[in-house]
């Protein structure tokens, strides 16, 4: 028999950071989380899974569109008609979801209680599912400790939304130790909350399947669900199945060996084609990171717009469902700093930059940056750290960019036209 374990669907949440440009495949990006969920349903049907367990975060908590719930219900209906048992718990994101309250789910779909941990035994399948939903967003108690004992003779599956003892980039909700889980005696711990796939423990299995669809440039690589095969109370295989429809990738270009701007483009093209091949025909959302000590440092930093343009046109030629450049990040370094700048006029630039972006940077800068930061919406501002309180790191990066821009302009006589 088979069961499918998924988590963190975040249905209908937007894919972030994808700036629209002319050749961008905007239509293909729409409804990505829904299509990934449809893929999950198809997986259950194709594999004739007996059970689908979802370990929380079906919806974003502040997402109030009932359409999402109706879509979810319609998909679950298909599963119920095919005789697939569905059990799920609420996570931090959908603990208080109003959508869930308004949508009537098929009777065969079981949402486990938040008040206490409960066990549902499915004699027909020989499976006992234990779990407990989040009653509120920030659950900080160890829920695992409250889970019931295993049911003898059945395959015991524990559903839990947790960050375990903490995972980078994730709030530490429902904290618990792996030993607690292992000692509980269940055969399989179906975890949710952490978006990065991870098999934390084998025998018994403690598994984060990761989220179903990457939603920004930090959620890279394959995304999907775990397909668990079992005989009686014994698990025989746990496989990961990619179900995402948009694949996020980072195209790393080391410009150290590049002699010309075109060399950088060439290297990016090579990496991009590799990423596209790995995406196996999916739409590719990619971030290009150019690094390395290179004589092209200033040229690359100052020529971001041109490079971005070139990369966009590269993405146009990528096969499969196409590709979308999310962002170009240039963090190259010059090969050799001028050892003795002396009175070189350009050395003055560094000094001026130091003055401008130094300790009193925020005040000094506000003179030049006016009120843009007040006009930008908070979600935009969050992406432009230079317009927030200037940290030394941000100031340093800004200084490098400005220095490169000026050096390049003054050196080549470009007036930007």
């Amino acid at each position: 028999m088979k069961l499918v374990h998924a988590a963190d669907l975040h249905l209908d949440s937007a894919l972030a950071g994808l700036t629209r440009y002319e050749s961008a495949p905007a239509d293909e990006i729409r409804g990505a989380t829904r299509r990934a969920f449809t893929n999950l349903v198809s997986l259950c049907l194709e594999e004739r899974a007996a059970l689908l367990v979802i370990s929380g975060d079906l919806f974003d908590g502040d997402w109030r569109d009932i359409s999402t719930g109706l879509f979810f219900a319609a998909q679950l209906n298909k599963l119920c008609e095919a005789g697939v048992q569905v059990v799920w718990i609420r996570g931090n994101h959908d603990a208080v979801s109003q959508i869930r309250r308004s949508v009537r789910l098929p009777e065969a779909v079981i949402e486990l209680l938040a008040e206490r941990a409960e066990t549902r035994v499915f004699d027909r399948l020989g499976v006992a599912v234990h779990g407990r939903s989040f009653a509120k967003r920030d659950v900080t108690e160890d829920l695992a400790a409250t889970y019931p004992d295993r049911v003898p003779g059945a395959l015991n599956v524990g559903l839990l939304h947790t960050a375990l003892e903490g995972r980078t980039g994730h709030d530490r909700y429902a904290p618990c130790r792996v030993e607690t889980l292992v000692n509980r005696g269940y055969e399989y711990w179906a975890l949710g909350h952490v978006h990065q796939r991870e098999v934390v423990h084998v025998e018994p299995y403690v598994v984060f399947p990761g989220n179903l669809q990457g939603r920004h440039a930090r959620e890279l690589g394959e995304k999907g669900a775990a397909l668990v095969t079992f005989e009686g109370d014994r698990i025989t295989a746990v496989e990961h199945r990619a179900l995402d429809v948009v694949r996020w990738a980072e195209v790393a270009v080391n410009a150290a060996a590049a002699q010309t701007f075109d060399d950088v483009i060439g290297a990016a093209q090579l990496e991009l084609s590799r990423a596209a091949a790995a995406a196996q025909g999916r739409l590719l959302a990619f971030r290009v990171k150019v690094t390395g000590a290179t004589p092209l440092d200033a040229q690359l930093r100052a020529g971001r717009d041109k490079l971005t343009e070139e990369l966009c046109s590269l993405s146009y030629g990528v096969g499969g469902a196409g590709a979308w450049l999310e962002k170009l990040v240039v963090t190259t370094e010059p090969v050799a700093q001028s050892a003795t700048l002396g009175d070189d006029a350009l050395a003055e630039i560094d000094r001026a930059l130091g003055d401008l972006l130094g300790e009193a940077a925020a005040e000094t800068l506000s003179e030049y940056l006016g009120d843009l930061s007040k006009k930008l919406p908070a979600e935009v501002l969050a992406e432009v750290p230079e317009l927030r309180t200037l940290s030394p790191e941000v100031a340093a990066e800004l200084a490098i960019d400005v220095r490169s821009l000026l050096r390049e302009r003054l050196a080549t006589g470009q007036d930007g036209a």
Binding site: D12, I66, Q337
Partner: protein
């Protein structure tokens, strides 16, 4: 750092070309001269490529392939030296002189760690950049800070870069703008945000809508219930209404049946049987009546027919024979007199023709003269032959005189033609001979003419050269080696004479005077000649050349004269030969061309004579043939006459009878014979007709005598005709009687049968009536009708009962019947009408409610879309773009701000020292026209102080050249500042003085030489003037190098 040696080992057009700078004391100003096409640009690129590596795409790999390119140098800084080479490679391009890779950092240290761009910016200056620097100062309106920065940094316009950054930032965002990209996008963001909010379907609204749907569904359900109730009531009322009429009808029918009382149980088919038997009986009676009438009619017909005739006793064969022959007998009677008349006419015609033939009046005797057919044919053939023979004799007689006349005429023409010829045919020379002489004479004449022309040309040249020689010799003539030798011989002679005299002790000194004088004179003459030979060598050489040419011409002239003589002699010889040959033509005076025409005429004449002779031969042959034909024709005619006489004798014709006459006689005999034959035929026919008429009459008489004696007296054809008519009538009557007999028999038989049927049917009908208890058929019919009526009523009652049961659909029929009996029909109809209205109303209401439910449900379906998520996705893209643009804007704004500060700081820091040094340099470079530089208006604008009146000119007021000088002054002053804090690097200048006048160039070179105290200067120039000026300066700090491309020289000719 400075170069001690720079080698272009294999680069651009250069091969192993070295600029040796080791000889320079100090840094030196190295003037590198390369005229156009000498590869100056390549050499300039070589410096950059040597220090920083060769680019991927190089334009200097034409003479040497890219992998073979190599540059090398020896550089030195503070006593430390580095010898290295540069190859064209992606990796490890920096190598030592043994081509082993060395670390770039080693070289970088010598270069102060500068990259190519910075080196270029700080230590490279060409004419274009110098000019641009001047123009940028103009663009920046002489802003001191910007000018100093530009000169110090690059010559690029800091002013322009600043403006560009400002413009770009403003294109992205303006505080109160609408069109810049960020401002526009912020508006888009607001719109999308609103749309995203509006697109979200809230759960509350969904719940509310769902509740609405439920409410409407309930309402629709209530409407449907009410409708069902009304429809049921209507159905019941309809049933009562339907039952009511059936109940009434059934009651009425039952009463009618009761009134009929009991009826017998008749056989089911009694009516059918009765009707059938009645019909059969009526039919049989009609047949009996009809057949009785028929029998009577036939018997009447038979009684009216006459008795049978005795003619019926005639044999059928005899009747048919008479019928067959009667037509022929009638025709014979008509034909006979016609034939007899024909025979008479023919006999008369024969008798009339006989006397015209002239062979007697007895036809048989005349016809006995006829010839057999073969004889007739022969006679005809002889007749035809005679015509041919007669024609031939006539033709022969006509032909002979013409042929004889023609022969005579031709003989005359031929003798006249022969008499007209000048030359005997056998004496005519062959035409090739004349052609050959003609050609030879023409060639010989041409040769003579050609020699004449050449001689004339040679004469002209000779005259010209003689004139030239005369001019060259002049009045004094020209000394020659021969004259000199002669003079020397004379001198030596005089010397010996003098020596001899001097050696003779007897001679007095006085005697020596004359010989000595002569010696002196001849010595002087020989010396003069010798001197002249040297000093006038050119003229002597020319005279000699002309003389040689003249001698050559003379030799050629002698040759040409000989050639002319030979040509003339050949011409004469050909003439003599021709004369000999032409004598045969009767006139040796004729030229070959004239002779050709005479010969042509003669040949044509002889050809004509020959043609006429051939014609004569043909005419004589024709005359012979004609004479032969005449003789033959005469002979044949004699033979014919003999044959003819024999042939016509039997006809009694004379031998001289004409063939036409014999033939006409033969024709007349044939005609008579034919008519006689025709007459015989007609006479035989008349006899046959008469025999047939007699036989037919006998046959008819035999029949009439046996069966119709009254016809025996009539002529045979008429009697036969009447007999046949009588026989036909008797036969017709006999046939009629037979037919009536047959009809009568058949009618009697059928009558018997009809009568039997009538009796059988009457009996059966009587039996049927008896069975039903009726007295006869009519009372049986009445009984049948009563029984049928009773049965019909019973059926109707039964059917009505069934219909009632059906209408009740299982309900209690009796109860419904009772209810119906109690109901009023009008009341029921009124209620039904009322129910119809109510139902229609309720139906509309229900439909409306259901439509509303559907509409609301469809409304719920809109919640299933994805608009909210799509709008959020769109918003996310805009947020990303806003962030991107904001970031770009921040960078441009900060860059602009930094630049402003930099320029300000740069001015503050460098204004004093740089400006005062630049002031000094500018004064010198402008040859003292300007005395100084100062800061003018608002303490930001640069002013140039004119020496003459101390007036300050702004940058805009300067000429282009002066602005370039100003920029150079600022650049050099800035560099001076630079080398104060950092080790110097070589300054590479390219054609910077190209537009400067000589004096300014000289001063500039002097300034640069002075400047080379601080750093090495490589000044590339394509101007020879600069080299001359540098040499003229005689400054020990200036070194000149000449660029020589390729391997034209074994090594470069560099050197100061």
């Amino acid at each position: 750092m400075r170069f001690r040696r720079l080698s272009l080992d294999a680069y651009g057009p250069f091969t192993a070309t070295t600029l040796d700078m080791a000889g320079a004391v100090g840094n030196g100003l190295h003037l590198i001269y390369g005229p156009n096409e000498a590869g100056k640009s390549s050499a300039l690129r070589a410096i950059r490529d040597l220090l920083f590596g060769m680019p991927q795409q190089t334009q200097d790999a034409h003479l040497h392939a890219a992998p073979a390119l190599r540059l090398s140098a020896l550089i030195e800084r503070d006593g430390e030296e580095l010898a290295f080479a540069r190859r064209k490679k992606r990796k490890d391009s920096l190598v030592n002189l043994d081509d082993q890779p060395i670390d770039e950092a080693k070289l970088a240290r010598f270069l102060n760690g500068l990259d190519a761009a910075t080196f270029d910016r700080l230590f490279g200056l060409d004419h274009a950049r110098l000019q641009l620097g001047g123009e940028e100062m103009l663009a920046g309106r002489g802003d001191v800070g910007e000018a100093l920065f530009d000169a110090g940094a690059s010559g690029r316009s800091v002013h322009r870069v600043k403006l560009a950054l400002l413009a770009e930032a403003e294109e992205l965002y303006k505080d109160r703008g609408k069109t810049p990209e960020l401002n526009r996008l912020l508006a888009v963001y607001a719109e999308q945000k609103k749309r995203a909010k509006d697109s979200v379907h809230s759960p509350e609204k969904y719940d509310e809508q769902q509740e609405g749907v439920r409410e409407k569904r309930r309402e629709a359900e209530a409407r449907r219930g009410e409708l069902s109730r009304l429809r049921a009531e209507k159905e019941h009322a309809v049933r009562i209404r339907n039952v009511l009429s059936s109940v009434i009808e059934r009651d009425r029918k039952s009463a009618q049946r009761a009134a009929l009382g009991d009826v017998p149980n008749l056989r089911r088919d009694v009516s059918e049987q009765r009707e059938r038997l009645t019909l059969l009986l009526q039919e049989a009676e009609r047949d009996v009546q009809r057949l009785s009438q028929k029998v009577a009619e036939e018997q009447g017909k038979l009684g009216r027919l006459p008795e049978p005739s005795p003619l019926l006793g005639m044999e059928e064969g005899a009747v048919r024979a008479v019928e067959r022959k009667i037509g022929a007998a009638q025709n014979s009677l008509i034909d006979l007199p016609k034939r007899q008349a024909e025979a008479r006419t023919l006999r008369d015609a024969i008798q009339a023709k006989l006397p015209r033939v002239g062979l007697g009046t007895d036809i048989e005797g005349v016809l006995g003269r006829s010839l057999p057919v073969a004889e007739q044919a022969r006679l005809a053939a002889l007749g035809r032959e005679y015509q041919g023979l007669e024609l031939k004799v006539e033709n022969a007689e006509r032909e002979l005189p013409d042929a004889r006349a023609k022969v005579e005429a031709l003989m005359n023409i031929i003798s006249l033609g022969q008499a007209a010829r000048r030359i005997e045919q056998s004496a005519l020379p062959p035409p090739e001979l004349v052609e050959r002489f003609d050609g030879e004479l023409a060639q010989a004449e041409e040769r003579v003419e050609a020699q004449r022309v050449r001689l004339a040309a040679g004469e002209t040249d000779r005259a010209a050269l003689s004139h030239q020689l005369e001019l060259l010799r002049g009045r004094e003539g020209v000394p020659s080696a021969a004259l000199l030798a002669e003079a020397r011989v004379q001198r030596d002679l005089r010397l010996r004479e003098a020596q001899e005299l001097a050696a003779d002790p007897k001679r007095k000194a006085l005697e020596l005077c004359l010989p000595l004088a002569a010696l002196a004179q001849s010595s002087a003459y020989a010396d003069t000649l010798g001197d002249r030979l040297r000093s006038e060598a050119q003229r002597v050489a020319e005279v000699e050349a002309v003389e040689q040419q003249l001698a050559k011409l003379e030799r050629e002239r002698a040759q040409m004269l000989a050639d002319r003589e030979a040509a003339e002699s050949q011409l004469r010889e050909v003439g003599v030969r021709w004369e000999n040959a032409a004598r045969g033509l009767g006139s040796s005076e004729l030229l070959p061309s004239e002779a050709r025409r005479v010969l042509q005429d003669e040949r044509e004449g002889w050809k004509e004579v020959a043609r006429q002779q051939q014609e004569l031969a043909r005419a004589q042959a024709a005359l012979g043939a004609a004479e032969l034909r005449a003789t033959e024709a005469g002979r044949r005619l004699g033979v014919w006459r003999e044959e003819w006489q024999v042939a016509v004798a039997p006809l009694g014709l004379a031998a001289n009878a004409r063939p036409e006459q014999a033939l006409r006689l033969l024709e007349a005999l044939a005609d008579l014979s034919s008519q006689r034959e025709q007459l015989g035929l007609i006479e035989r026919r008349i006899i046959g007709i008469e025999r047939d008429i007699t036989a037919f009459a006998a046959e008819v008489r035999l029949l009439t005598e046996s069966f119709a004696p009254e016809l025996s007296a009539l002529p045979a054809p008429e009697a036969a005709s009447r007999l046949l008519e009588l026989h036909r009538r008797a036969s017709e009557l006999a046939r009629q009687r037979g037919s009536i007999d047959g009809e009568l028999g058949r009618a009697r038989r059928e009558l018997g049968e009809a009568d039997a049927r009538r009796n059988q049917h009457a009996q059966a009908l009587a039996e049927l009536c008896r069975e039903a208890g009726a007295v006869d058929a009519a009372s049986l019919l009445e009984l049948e009708q009563k029984v049928e009526r009773a049965r019909a009523l019973e059926c109707e009652v039964e059917e009505l009962g069934a219909r009632l049961a059906e209408v009740c659909e299982g309900d209690d029929v009796d109860a419904l019947v009772e209810e119906a009996r109690r109901s009023d029909k009008g009341a029921v109809a009124a209620r039904l009408a009322e129910l119809d209205d109510l139902i229609a109303l309720r139906e509309d209401e229900t439909r409306e409610a259901e439509r509303e439910v559907t509409r609301l449900e469809l409304g719920l379906r809109t919640y299933e879309g994805r608009d909210g998520a799509d709008a959020a996705q769109e918003l996310s893209a805009t947020v990303a773009r806003l962030a991107e643009l904001s970031s770009a804007w921040v960078r441009r704004r900060v860059a602009g701000a930094v630049l402003e500060r930099v320029v300000e700081q740069y001015r503050d820091k460098h204004q004093g020292p740089v400006l005062s040094r630049a002031s000094e340099l500018f004064r010198r470079l402008t040859l003292g026209r300007f005395s100084a530089l100062r800061v003018g208006l608002e303490e930001t604008r640069l002013e140039c102080v004119e020496a003459i009146d101390g007036k300050g000119l702004e940058v805009e007021q300067l000429s282009t050249g002066t602005r370039m000088q100003l920029f150079l002054a600022l650049k050099l002053a800035s560099l001076e500042q630079y080398v104060k804090t950092a080790p110097p690097l070589p300054l590479v200048l390219d054609d910077v003085l190209v537009e400067w006048d000589d004096e300014r160039s000289r001063v500039a070179l002097s300034v640069l030489a002075e400047f080379s105290e601080r750093l090495q200067i490589l000044l590339f120039t394509h101007h020879g003037r600069d080299v001359t000026a540098a040499e003229a300066l005689g400054d020990g700090r200036i070194f000149t190098h000449h660029l020589v491309p390729r391997a034209a020289l074994p090594s470069n000719a560099g050197g100061g």
